[in-house]
């Protein structure tokens, strides 16, 4: 992983046309400004992970008896 130090107001360029600028730093929070072409998706990692988890959670195939069995074990 490439690690760079940046100050408020400084920016990075990623590939063609993606700019990531440090807008504000306070405590453990960094505000970033991102300019990217419209075909480049910018999305928070935890949102992608949550969507993945939700899709896995909604997948059928476990079946009610197995669900009962697993959850029953947990509540023991």
């Amino acid at each position: 992983m490439l690690i760079l130090a940046r100050k408020t107001g400084e920016a990075l360029l990623v590939g063609d046309g993606v700019e990531i600028k440090v807008v504000e730093v306070s405590g453990d929070k960094v505000k970033l400004g991102i300019s990217a072409p419209s075909d480049v998706k910018v999305i928070r990692k935890e949102l992608v992970q949550t969507i993945e988890q939700n899709h896995q959670a909604a997948q059928m195939g476990v079946g009610l008896p197995a669900i009962r069995n697993l959850l029953g074990k947990l509540s023991e």
Partner: protein, 143 residues
């Protein structure tokens, strides 16, 4: 009463007042807004089935966070009061059930928050650093 088709319990009747409306869709499921929360006596009230009314095949298993982790006391986004209405909120975790309990997980980072009075709900992504995949057996293992 409302007759609904469910994934795990066949056709059942629920009270119309029990319907929960998601003010913002569950992440990844933008076409489903109306759900009911079902529980089963044999398993108890710490687990629930969040059953879609619009798609009978869509159902999430939810768990009471207290079952999974002793230390789970997240700070909810301040604008939730506006979105869901005032009053106490119920928190549920979305469960990913696998073949075994040990490999099953719950999402601590993105709880489902329900206002039981207004029957409004959202899934939020917390600012705090909670894991998206936390072992369901976390508390049993002493975490």
């Amino acid at each position: 009463m409302l007759k609904i088709k469910t994934r795990d319990f066949g056709e059942i009747e629920v009270n119309e007042q029990e319907v929960i409306e998601f003010k913002e869709p569950i992440f990844g499921f933008k076409d489903q807004k109306k759900f009911v929360l079902l529980t089963e006596d044999s398993i108890g009230a710490d687990f629930a089935w969040l059953q879609s009314l619009e798609d009978e095949t869509l159902c999430f298993i939810l768990v009471n966070p207290a079952i999974v982790s002793m230390e789970y006391q997240p700070v909810l986004p301040f604008n939730l009061e506006q979105t869901l209405g005032s009053g106490e909120k119920m928190l549920w975790l979305v469960v990913v059930l696998k073949e075994t309990l040990e490999s099953s997980t719950a999402n601590l980072k993105s709880p489902i928050v329900i206002n039981p009075i207004t029957r409004l709900a959202v899934q939020v992504i917390l600012d705090e650093n909670y894991p998206v995949r936390y072992p369901l057996t976390g508390r049993k293992e002493g975490h």
